[in-house]
């Protein structure tokens, strides 16, 4: 997995609440057996018309947001399906960080498995960063995972919380399966005990 330490980049504002995974990557793009190549279809039905032409006023189609690396979004971002295609599409587009007041649980976990940092901040602080993001390419935010801070283009600093284990994995680009394999004896022991106690399983 790609490491995440610090990131300075353009942030795009998407204030809409409840942006769901069908919006992030519609189901017709789930028929792939690969993880890559989904960025072009990120937010497909908001981004293109039926003929495949770009919809000019969609934020990521505007010239100043084409190189977006940070998304500032409304509450409950990523609700809906468990499709990991959603973070795959976000990452493939080039976005490595999302900032929102809240996320759906599965989407939130999926981000960390793909080197994307989902930051939770209170609504008032997201509102400030949303305004900052509206300045377009003149406004570059900086995210520092080690320090757990977001710095707006004006230099205002916001601190965020993140689970220490998730942070450790993201900063070091660690593979979850490899880490769990180190604890295989604990799994073996548990499995033996559970199958004695609950043999019907």
């Amino acid at each position: 997995m790609d490491k995440f330490t610090t990131l300075t980049g353009i942030a795009a504002p998407m204030a809409l609440v409840n942006i769901d995974t069908d919006m992030i990557i519609p189901k017709q793009f789930l028929k792939t057996i690969k993880r890559s190549g989904l960025g072009v279809n990120l937010f497909d039905e908001m981004r293109y018309d039926r003929q495949g032409n770009e919809i000019a006023d969609f934020v990521l189609n505007k010239p100043q947001y084409r190189e977006t690396e940070i998304l500032v979004a409304g509450e409950n971002f990523g609700c809906g399906s468990s499709r990991e295609h959603a973070p795959w599409a976000i990452k493939d587009f080039g976005i490595r960080c999302v900032i929102a007041p809240s996320y759906a649980d599965i989407f939130y976990n999926n981000c960390f498995k793909n080197g994307i940092l989902p930051i939770v901040l209170p609504q008032e602080q997201v509102d400030v960063l949303m305004k900052d993001a509206e300045k377009g390419s003149n406004a570059r935010m900086t995210v520092d995972l080690e320090a757990q801070t977001v710095t707006s283009s004006d230099g205002e600093v916001f601190s965020f919380e993140v689970d220490s284990f998730k942070k450790h994995c993201l900063m070091n680009g660690l593979d979850d399966i490899g880490l769990t394999m180190e604890k295989v004896s604990a799994i073996d022991t548990f499995e033996a005990k559970a199958s004695a106690e609950r043999p019907w399983i």
Binding site: A15, L16, V17, N18, D20, D22, M23, P26, K27, Q28, L30, K31, T32, I33, K34, R35, E45, R50, G74, E75, N76, C79, G80, S81, S82, R83, E84, P87, S102, Y103, A104, D105, I106, N109, N110, K113, N114, Q123, D163, S164, F165, D176, I177, T180, M181, K183, V184, A186, I187, T189, F190, E191, A194, R198, P199, W200, I201
Partner: protein, 469 residues
């Protein structure tokens, strides 16, 4: 004496294989359900790393999301190329890794969340995961069940565990009796209407109360199925005699002495008196009406007797979202919901594709016809549900009324197969999500119970099922 525990606490504690100092746990997984859309990259990951599936006996695969629901589908030529590739990949992966598998040609094939309980894979007290958010369905058995992403699918395949931190406990109590015409679907939608789609985020919900106890196992599955739409990691209902009756004799349920031992354990699976819940929601059963969604989020729910709201009825970020929903849905504020004309009816999905759902719809349709010009389809949740419905004469009722009688799969719930709404079409649907584009590009979805869907098929508009009972 140890402190009182919730049902969730008990199942969680029984599955922690390892706990780190910061509380990060390896949770052991008893059943891993797999389908064709969220698994190919996970199996490919195993292959690249040279890893086997750790517990193939606990891993069950079935294609459901992509498969056509029309005759001749076991010939890949009758699928779109990309769907056929995903189904073929699942075929190959199931054989290569030696996991249980129900191919398209098997009568037991169906929606993964209907097949699991039907075959007795899902049992009380288990941990169940699947790369699908509606895994919450299995919580109806008092099993801790939730959806996971593809990276986690690979993690479970490789290690039979999931890296987890414990969620908080939330109780949703539905007291008293439901009124006639009110169903499990109306309960679960009404709860989401109350809490919002993020109200359950960070929680595992235990549903309880007389109205939940009164539900059949199938109704309980409908309630738990949509726990995810309320944002919760999982929904749970404590097992009881109805649960045991449902499980007994299923192909993969324990038998004989093993059954007795299992049942003795299952009888310990309830929330202790005085156990702590971090959040409690209580609804009165008699206050719940048959409901319908008007917008593009499952929280946009109102009784069928209500009117389309205005964006100005809401606050904060919801104002913009409500306006966007109204525009997308093509609805005028103030319009009675029961005057909204529809052109499509879909009965099926892991929410409402079981035999009792088909019975409820058929009871409304018997002797009636689908309104002229409408498209109406029934997609049974599994091949066995379909066979039973044919045996009971329900299929004839649907066909005589003018419904298409399809083969099992997810179908128009998410429209990954050819069953889709065209632009601007409006559907009364028994599925679980009314998101933009969910049932087809620019398609419009109103979520309802099976009886309400059947009533809408007859009148051609959203209809209060109580007028047809």
């Amino acid at each position: 004496m140890s402190s009182p525990k919730t049902l969730y606490d008990k199942i969680w504690d029984a599955h922690v294989a390892h706990e780190a100092e910061d509380g990060t746990c390896l949770l052991y997984i008893d059943r891993h359900l797999v389908h064709e859309v969220t698994s190919p990259q996970a199996f490919e990951g195993l292959r690249m790393a040279g890893r086997p599936v750790r517990a193939p006996d606990k891993t069950i695969a079935v294609p459901d999301h992509n498969v056509p629901t029309t005759a001749g589908r076991d010939d890949p030529k009758n699928m779109t190329e990309d769907s056929a590739i995903q189904v073929a990949a699942l075929d190959k992966n199931a054989k290569e890794f030696g996991i249980h598998y129900y191919p398209v040609s098997d009568v037991r094939q169906g929606i993964v969340h209907i097949v699991g309980p039907e075959q007795g894979w899902t049992l009380p007290g288990m941990t169940v995961v699947c790369g699908d958010s509606h895994t919450a369905t299995h919580g109806a058995f008092g099993a801790l069940a939730h959806g996971i992403g593809t990276s986690e699918v690979e993690h479970v395949l490789a290690t039979q565990t999931l890296i987890q931190k414990k969620s908080k406990n939330m109780k949703v109590e539905i007291t008293g009796k439901l009124r006639p015409g009110v169903t499990a679907k109306d309960i679960t939608l009404s709860v989401i209407g109350e809490t919002g789609t993020a109200g359950g985020t960070g929680y595992v919900i235990e549903y309880c109360g007389e109205a939940i106890r009164d539900l059949s196992m199938e109704g309980r599955m409908t309630v738990c199925n949509m726990a995810i739409e309320g944002g919760a990691r999982a929904g749970l209902i404590a097992p009881d005699e109805k649960t045991y009756d449902y499980c007994m004799g299923r192909p993969h349920a324990p038998k004989g002495a093993a059954w007795e031992a299992a049942k003795a354990y299952w009888e310990t699976l309830f929330t202790d008196e005085g156990a702590h819940f971090d959040k409690v929601i209580t609804l009165k059963g008699e206050d719940i009406a048959p409901v319908v969604t008007w917008g593009t989020s499952p929280e946009d729910v109102l009784p069928i007797t209500a009117k389309v709201p205005a964006a100005s009825d809401f606050e904060g970020g919801k104002v913009e979202a409500a306006q966007r929903s109204l525009d997308y849905m093509g609805l005028e504020p103030g319009t009675p919901l029961s005057e909204i004309e529809i052109d499509t009816v879909f009965i099926g999905s892991c929410t409402n594709g079981r035999i009792e759902d088909l019975r409820a719809a058929a009871a409304i349709l018997k002797g009636k016809k689908v309104k002229d010009g409408m498209r109406a389809m029934v997609v049974p949740g599994s091949g066995l549900v379909r066979a039973q419905a044919e045996e009971e004469g329900l299929a004839d009722i649907f066909k005589e009324a003018g419904f298409e009688w399809r083969l099992a799969g997810c179908s128009m719930c998410l429209a990954m197969n050819p069953d889709q709404l065209a632009e601007g079409e409006r559907c009364a649907s028994t599925s679980n999500r009314n998101f933009e584009g969910r049932q087809g590009y620019k398609g419009r979805t109103h979520l309802v119970s099976p009886g309400m869907a059947a009533a809408a098929a007859v009148t051609g508009k959203l209809t209060d099922v109580r007028e047809m009972m």
